[in-house]
Every structure is written in C-alpha cells, then in structure tokens.
C-alpha cells in the first residue's frame, strides 16, 4: 500500500535522527552551538509536525490516516509502515511539545553536551516512531530504540545513585518488552498467513485462550512501563536520579507509550480477551491510585514523591480503559495527555529547584517562596493541576473516567461503587502529599540549604517552559474540546469494538462481577463454554 502523498510521518521520524548525525562535528564552545542547533532542530520538528497534522489530518475520520508503507526487510516481513489515528496523533503532538521543551530545559548541561543532545534527538525520533508504527516489529524496534538513550542519559548525567537506577530501568523495561516481541511473533504466526501488520493482526480471529495469553504478555510489558503495581519500583529510582529534562520526557511521554500500547494492542487488537481482563485492570488501577498515593506521602525526596504521584495518576488510565464506555476510554486518553503536561511541568520545576539548591530532600528545603516567588507560583499551579482542580486538565480527565466508569453497564453496581469510592479516596490523598510538599519546600522561614546568597528566581526561559505546559493544562481544563476533538472519532470506534467483544462473550449485558479476580468463572456459563472451546 503505497500512498502518493508526501511521507510526512517518515520525515517526522527521521528528521531528529538525521539532525543528530552532524552534532559530533559541531564546534563546541561552552556547549552553546550545540544547544541552539538542537533546539532549532526540535522546533522545526515540532512545527513541521503541527503543520503536517493541520494539513493532512481529518479529525472526523476514525481510522488510520497519513498511511505510508514501504517494505524494509521483506525476508522477515518487516515493513516500514506508519500511520496515525486519534489514539496516536495527540500523543505524537504531546511528545513533540514535551521533548522540545525538554531540549530547552537542558540549558545547564555542561558535561559532554554533544552526546547528551544526540541522545535526546534519538529519543525524539523513537517516541514518534512508537506512536506511529503500524508494524508490530517496527513498533518493537522503536520501543527498544527509545530505551537505550534513556539508559545512557540516566547513567551519564544522573544523580549520585545513577548507575543503580539506570541498570534497574534498563533491565526492568527490556525484560518487559521481550513480551512484546514474543507476543508479536506468536500473533504473526497464528493461523498461517504470516504478517506483522497491526491491522491485519487485529483482523485475525484468534481463539479466546490464545488471546488471553497474548493479552497477559502485553499487559506484563506495558505494566512495567505504565507502571502497574507491583512492577513500578524502577520508576521512583529512575526519576530521582535522572536529570530534569530526562524526567520530563520519562514522565511526560514514556509512561504514555504504555497506555497507548494498552489501548492499541490489548483493547483494540485483542478485544475478545479484554472483557476478561478489564475487571483486573480496574482493580490494578485502584491499587495503583491508593497504594502510590499513600507511598508518595511518605517520600522525602521531591522527585520520588512526584514519581509515585505519576504512578497514582496512571492508575486512572487503567480504570478508564476498563470502563467499556466512550467517556471512560476518552477520559483515559485525556488523562494521559493531561498527566503528560502536568508531570513534565512538575518535574521541570523540581529540576529548577535542584539546580539552585542541589538537594531534593524536602527536609532540607524550606521557605523558598521568599526568594523564588515565580517558581513558587508555578509550582503551586502545577500542583493544583495535579490534584485535579476544576478548570485544569487533570480534573477533566479524572472526571471523565469517573463518569465513564459509573455509567458503564459492564459491571455490577457494587463493584463500580467500590472502585469509584477507593479511587476518590486516592484523589483525596493527592492534595495531602502535594500540599505538604508545597508547605515543606516553599512556606515558612528559609532553611539552611536555601539560604544561599544569590539564589535567583526563575529565569525568563524557565518561566517560559513552565508556561508552555501550564497554558494547555488550563486551556484543556476550561474547554476540554480542545483535546477531546482530536480523538473523539477514534475512541468512539474503539469503544464500539470493545463493546462488541463484551457482547460476543457474555450475551447478557450485565457481567455480574462478584469475584472480579476470576472474571471468566463469573461471566456466566455461556462464556465459560466459549472459553473451553
């Protein structure tokens, strides 16, 4: 399938890679040339991206657009096939925005800047590749391609314990992503006609047992990345050691790749297994929210606290995916976008704090508001967004998920009530840890670590970065259609498909989920019979 139009997606993926090539040859006086060069590459990429979608993307079409496909290594069936739909397009823009801002936030990198910026650009490419890939093998390649720069960035430019954190990150995520490859091969070989094309794989009809196994494999892979309890412990370590720009991308984009994967592989391609796993996802989501929120409160390290907060917020994505309603699924996507912006802003601001005070321990920080009022104001705004205050994007995302889950007809009322109430308890916990963070860091009298002469407030560049993230947050919060219209058409189609899966398995609409852990046994005898086949 060759398209005649201009191959925008290929250009978008290759541009940062090509831009990274001449970096080693650039003169490097105080790292200035490199950073301006990289920043302009990022900006060009981002504007091209906006232009390409503006020109070629039709918001009302649910299916794939801007499709391009070229055989790459035909011997193993690998195609360079790319396309975007409503699930991936907003996330591509999100990664463009966050990564470009992360490049602008890397101003202080003095050590080996050329390597640093090269890796950042490679990461830029890989993120877009993950979201745009339409070939399972290509998806896996892009997924792996993005792991390596993160590892190197943490291992080289991280904090004191960086090697431990980087190794943990790479082992965890690489081990997880093996499952993607295994599942991809299993699905490709299933039923004779060998293909890696995602659409063709989605159209194949698998036996339910096979789908369940595949679903489990993907869930493991994405569960590490999202992360889902108990596979999450790499994240706080990686965040607390990573330099701020890497943290921004890690929390802002990389976690979303897992959410995207869950929507794309688990929910879309394996829609027959989805009903069996959905209650488990909902429960895992609740566990994520409550457990991570509580743990966040006990953290002393600023970035660790926000890492746990990320885990809690990604729990909502799971509940949204499990909801079987358009509102819930689009809420999940909105929550990903919104958390991408919020987490990037908060991690960036904690980086700003760290650059000045050289500590992330909240016990040592204190009373910074007097010297850094702008950072204080921005931090407060970010925290408010994170704790889902109405008028900011986090609220719309979590509200849609709540509403979507309560209006779902796939679960019994008791189960829904328990999930919603526990998730709400998690939402009450989020102001507890965020406000106590603000209190410890900013309010009161200046502490020793902060009483440094010449501690300057945010520079215009830094304020600009934070505002670039906060303005969309408030924009989406006040007028959610800004975000929702980019994916509405796709999520509606996706949910319809998932509901088909639901109804083919359990012919009665109500799944009586009394023992959610054993969904198949409570689906009714008909479903069991189906499973035995």
């Amino acid at each position: 399938m060759m398209s005649t139009q201009f191959p925008w997606l290929t250009v978008l993926i290759l541009l940062p890679l090509v831009a990274a090539l001449p970096i080693p040859l650039l003169p490097n006086k105080y790292g200035r040339t490199v950073r301006w060069y990289t920043l302009s590459a990022g900006l060009i990429e981002f504007s091209l991206m906006l232009y390409a979608f503006w020109q070629n993307y039709d918001l009302n079409t649910p299916g794939f657009q801007m499709v391009e496909s070229y055989p790459w290594i035909p011997q193993i069936g690998l195609n360079w096939s790319l396309a975007v739909d409503g699930l991936s397009m907003p996330l591509v823009i999100l990664s463009g925005l966050v990564t470009t801002l992360a490049l602008l936030a890397s101003w202080q990198i003095k050590d080996k800047p050329r390597l640093f910026y090269c890796l950042m650009l490679v990461m830029y490419s890989a993120q877009i590749g993950v979201f745009a890939a339409q070939d399972m093998l290509l998806f896996f390649l892009m997924w792996e391609l993005e792991l390596v720069p993160v590892y190197l960035l943490i291992a080289n430019w991280g904090g004191q314990n960086r090697l431990y954190a980087a190794t943990k990150f790479i082992l965890y995520t690489a081990a997880g992503s093996i499952f993607i490859l295994v599942a991809a091969f299993a699905m490709a070989f299933y039923g004779g006609d060998f293909t890696f094309d995602m659409q063709a794989l989605g159209d194949k009809s698998y036996s339910v047992a096979f789908e369940l196994v595949m679903y489990g494999a993907f869930l493991l892979a994405f569960g590490v990345k999202l992360p889902i309890f108990p596979l999450h412990t790499w994240l706080p370590d990686a965040h607390s050691e990573a330099p701020a720009p890497v943290s921004m991308i890690l929390a802002g984009v990389l976690l979303k790749m897992a959410g995207y994967g869950l929507l794309r592989m688990n929910m879309e391609m394996l829609s027959d297994a989805h009903p069996y796993f959905a209650p488990v996802l909902a429960i895992l989501g609740v566990v994520n929210i409550v457990y991570a929120s509580l743990t966040a409160f006990a953290q002393d390290n600023l970035k660790r606290r926000m890492a746990y907060s990320s885990i809690a917020h990604m729990g909502f994505v799971l509940i949204g995916i499990a909801s079987f309603t358009t509102l819930g699924v689009s809420g999940a996507l909105l929550q990903m976008i919104s958390h991408g912006l919020i987490a990037a802003a908060l991690f960036f601001l904690s980086g700003v704090t760290y650059e000045r005070t050289h500590t992330l321990s909240m016990k040592k920080l204190g009373g910074m508001a007097k010297q850094m009022p702008t950072v204080f104001a921005l931090f407060t705004a970010g925290s408010m967004a994170s704790l889902a205050l109405p008028g900011m994007s986090g609220f719309v995302g979590e509200l849609s998920i709540f509403l979507g889950f309560t209006s779902s007809d796939a679960y019994s009322t008791t189960f829904k009530a328990v999930v919603v109430v526990l998730a709400a308890a998690g939402v009450i916990l989020s102001p507890i840890y965020l406000l106590s963070m603000l209190r410890q860091v900013f309010y009161g009298d200046a502490s020793e670590a902060v009483a440094i002469p010449g501690l300057t407030d945010a520079k215009p560049r830094e304020a600009f970065i934070a505002l670039c993230l906060l303005i969309p947050i408030i924009g989406i919060g006040l007028y959610p259609k800004l975000a929702t219209q980019t994916y509405d058409a796709t999520t509606v189609a996706l949910t319809t498909q998932a509901r088909d899966g639901l109804s083919t398995i359990a012919r009665q609409p109500m799944l009586d989920i009394e023992l959610p852990f054993m969904a198949p046994t409570v689906l009714g005898t008909e479903a069991q019979a189906h499973l035995v086949d």
Binding site: L294, T326, I432, Y443, D445
Partner: protein, 612 residues
Amino acid sequence: MTQFLIDTVWWVPLYGLLGAIVTLPWAVGMVRRTGPRPAAYFNILMTLLALVHSITLLLATWALPVLHLDRAWLDFMDLRLTLSVEVSSISVGAAVLATGLSLLAQIFALGYLEKDWALARFYGLMGFFEAAMSGLALSDSLFLSYALLEMLTLSTYLLVGFWYAQPLVVTAARDAFLTKRVGDMLLLMGVVSLSAIAGTLGFGQLGIWAETAQLSPLVATLLGLALIAGPVGKCAQFPLNLWLDEAMEGPNPASILRNSVVVACGAYVLIRMEPILALSPVVLTTLIAIGAVTAVGASLVAIGQIDIKRVISHSTSAYLGLVFIAVGMQRQDIALLLLLTHAIAKALLFMSVGSIILTTNTQNITEMGGLAARMPATSSTYIVGSLGMVAVLPLGSFWALQQWATTVGSHLMALMLVVLLVNSLTAFNLTRVFGLIFWGQPQAKTRRAPEVPWLLATPSISLAIITLLLPLMLNQWGLLPEMAVWASMPTVLLMASGLLGVGLGGVLYLSPRSPELRGEGWKVLQNILAYDFHTDQLYRLTVVFAVRQGARLTAWFDQYVVDGMINLMGVASIMGGESLKYTISGQSRNYLLTVFVGVILGIAWLGWAFLN
C-alpha cells in the same frame, strides 16, 4: 435593554475574573514602576461594574419569571455537561450581595493593606474569589456549582496562605484546603452518581426529577450524605469545622468575605440541592444534627477565644449551623434570609475587627481596652454589627432568627433551645468582646490608638447604614411577617435570651472589676473551650494518624518487599554467577568429571523413564 442584561449575565462573574487576569503583570512583578496600586484600582473598578450590572439586572428582572440559560461545556455522546445560569431575584440578589460586599471589602483592603508589597496579588485573588462567588450565585447546574466551590477552595487556600512566610499560615492554608477538599470530593462523588442516576445536573431539572424519583432508601441516603459533605466542609460545620478558625491567619479583608459570603456559598448550594436531600429523611436528620452540634459547640467555643478574629469566626460556624437546621427542616426561605442578614452583620463585624487590628497591631483581646472613646466610628460599627447579629433589637438577624424560632423552633423543643442558646451565647460573647476591647482602662497597645483612616471608615460606615436599613428593605420586599405572627411567645423568648446574654456579659465584662474568673474549674473549662473541645486532637489521633501510618506502612512495604524482591533477584543472579565462576577452574579433570556425572545422570533418567 432587559434582554441585553439577561444575555450578558455571564459577564457578572467575568468582571472579577478579568480583574484577576489583568492584575497578573503587577502580581508577578513584571510591572514595578507604577507600584501595585493600579492593579487594585482596576479590580475595584471591575467589582463596581459587576455590582452595577447585577443591580440593574436585579431591578430589570425583579418581576420576571425565573430564566434558565445554558452553554455546553463537555458535549460527549450521551453526556452533556452544561454551564447553566439561572436568572431569578434570588440568584441575582445573591450576586448583588456577593459583589457588593466584595466591593466594600476591596475598598477596605486598600487602607488595610496599604503598605503590603504584594497588594496586587491580593487584589488578583480577591477578583478570583468574587468571580467564583458571583458565579456560584448565578449557577443553575450542580456541576458548575461544584467546580466553583473548588475555585473557592483554591482561592481560600491562596488567600489564607497570602503571608506565606508566617509560621501559622503554613498549616492554616493547607488545612483549609484539605478539609474543604475532603468535602468537595465527597460532593463530587455525589455529583458523579447523580449524573448516572438522574441523567441531569441542572438544579431545576433535578428538582423535577426528585419529585418522581424512585430510589431505594440506602441509595438516597448515601447520595444525600455525599452531597451534603461539600457544604459541611465549606460552611465549617462539625466535623470539618476547624479550618475556618485557622483561616483567620489570612489578611482581614479576605476574612470579611470568607465569614460572610464564602461560607454562605456552601449553604446556598445546599439550599439548591434540597429537593434531592429531601428524598431521604436520614439525610435531613443528619443535617439537623450536624447543624445543632455545630451551632451549640461553636457558640461555646467562641467564648473561650482570645484572638479577636477567632472569637467572631466561630460564631460564623454557629449561625451556619442554624442555616443547616433550617434546610434540614425544609425551610429554605428562612435559611436564605438568615444567610443574608448574617452575611451583612458579620461583614460589618469583621470590618470593625480589622480596623482594631490595624490600629493596635494585636489580635489578642486581653491586651486591649478603652477603645470606645478613641475610636468612636469603629466602636459604633461594632455595636451596629453586633446588634445586627443577635436578636435583641429588631435589626437584621432578629427577623431571621424570629422566623426561625416561630417556624422551625416551634416544631421541636430541642431546636428551640438550640436557637435560644446560640442567641444568648452570641450576645454574651459579643458583649464580652465589647467590654474587653472598648470598655475599661486602656492598655499599652490601645493607649495611642487613633481612629482609622477614611479608606477603612467609609466602607464600614456604609455597611453599618445598610445594616440599620436592612429591616426596612426586608419590609419593602415583603419578607417581614405580620405583626400578629411575630408578636408571639417564641419572639419574646428569643429577645429574652438575647437580653440575658447581653446582661450577663455586661455584668461580667462591663464592670470596672477585673473580669477574670478565678479557680481551677474555670481554668479547665476555659482551656477546653479555647482549644475547641480538642477537636484537633481528635483529628490527629484518627485521620492524620491513619494516613501517616498508612503511608509509612506502604512505603516500607514498597521499599523492602516489592523492591526488595527485585533487588533480591539481582543479588541472587550476581551470587549465582559469582559462585558458578569457581567451576571454571581450567583443570580438564574437573571438566571430565562434570561431563561424566552429567552423562550418568542422563542415562539414569532415560533408563528410569524407559522402565516406567
């Protein structure tokens, strides 16, 4: 003209918001050359516009039927979240009250915060505050009201945390936010389930729905309890009451609004939700119980306070408790009337309190005395405000409390006792404060106290005049009962209770003798009251303890169990590798031995399998 005013009713909240946004350059320090004053003037101008707009609208739509306006916000498949506005005399009247008091408070702040370096930030926050309040007054959708209540929570947090370097502000702002947020979240849960059950969130449609709704008692009760949790937090009712007391750490002009109209906003939402609450008798009883406990408890606690702002703020909780009881008895008209009279009187009291704090630089009433002669305007506003608060003379709250007593109170003896107790305790307390501040001998901090400048005096005196005129206005609006109705036993009892409070207070605190009550018993009682019946200890031992220990537990679990497993795997593989490396000895006999053993084992296994 009327149509134009109705179509532009959206602007009323937007004025305040616009003021807040335009103030930003001054607030963040981008504009320094002009000083913060222009920002303040602009906000006052915006508030004036909002007031004029809402008054004109009120006059224009006075006789018109209730109007509803809708705008879609999140329009998604079967879900439509709308931003709806109601134009009625009550909603626009509430907007007039909110913007009017906001205007007075902002003029007051111009004098009160004259030398504060962050004046622009303060005005930005006040604009935000006002926008949320007037929006709440006009809102016709539970969803919009919820969102605006959260905006109020945020602005309370920011306003209480205004002087963020002060030690007590640190916890006060956080507690205010958290307490209200707990209530708000429960309210949100109610809103979410209501949208699933009723399919609409407009107050009007909800009222219609509630008439025919068939809910099981359990669902109705849970729903109602979730819905009242928001107002309970917002109105500082037990057990979510402590934040208001702590919030007194914020600047006084914000306290004027907070104690008069902001708390009223919570009750206003409660009143709008009444048809749904009435679905469950348990919820109504809960409302009455919460209201009664808070009314009596807060009135008692107020007596033990020595911080001038806290003394007055506790009585806010008490009066809102009476409002809760009225809503619980399904008398929304009385609830609204009490909210109105209380708001005006309380705002006036807080203005005079602010004037005193500004001139004496202290909030401790035991350090004051003899101010009556030195600050005549302030003392008269205090007296007018106090008289407007309690039922002694036929001023504002007298009429509200009188109606309360004749209708609600006469239903149930216990409730009658509650209102009598609240009235007499409040009267006693206000007399006590009057005696300590204005009477007696001047002390070090009050000896050289001058009268306040005109920026503080003008709004106070204007509001005092309004307070005095309020009965006339009520009469004009036909809100006063017939002579025959009000000249009854409850009225007499009410006035008697007020006079008793004033008299007792006068005997103890207006006499030249020292008003201290000696003896251990009194001290213990005083301490119990001064520490709010140790409610904060209750929190500390339950919720705070549970969250803190829970957090420590999960953090421990996370570090040692979840992460420990992973690290154990890492250590195990390293150990495995380390120990296996000793098998690589380089001596061929060892390798041969290994191969030999391996082959034997293999054959044995095969043979065993074969034999089986």
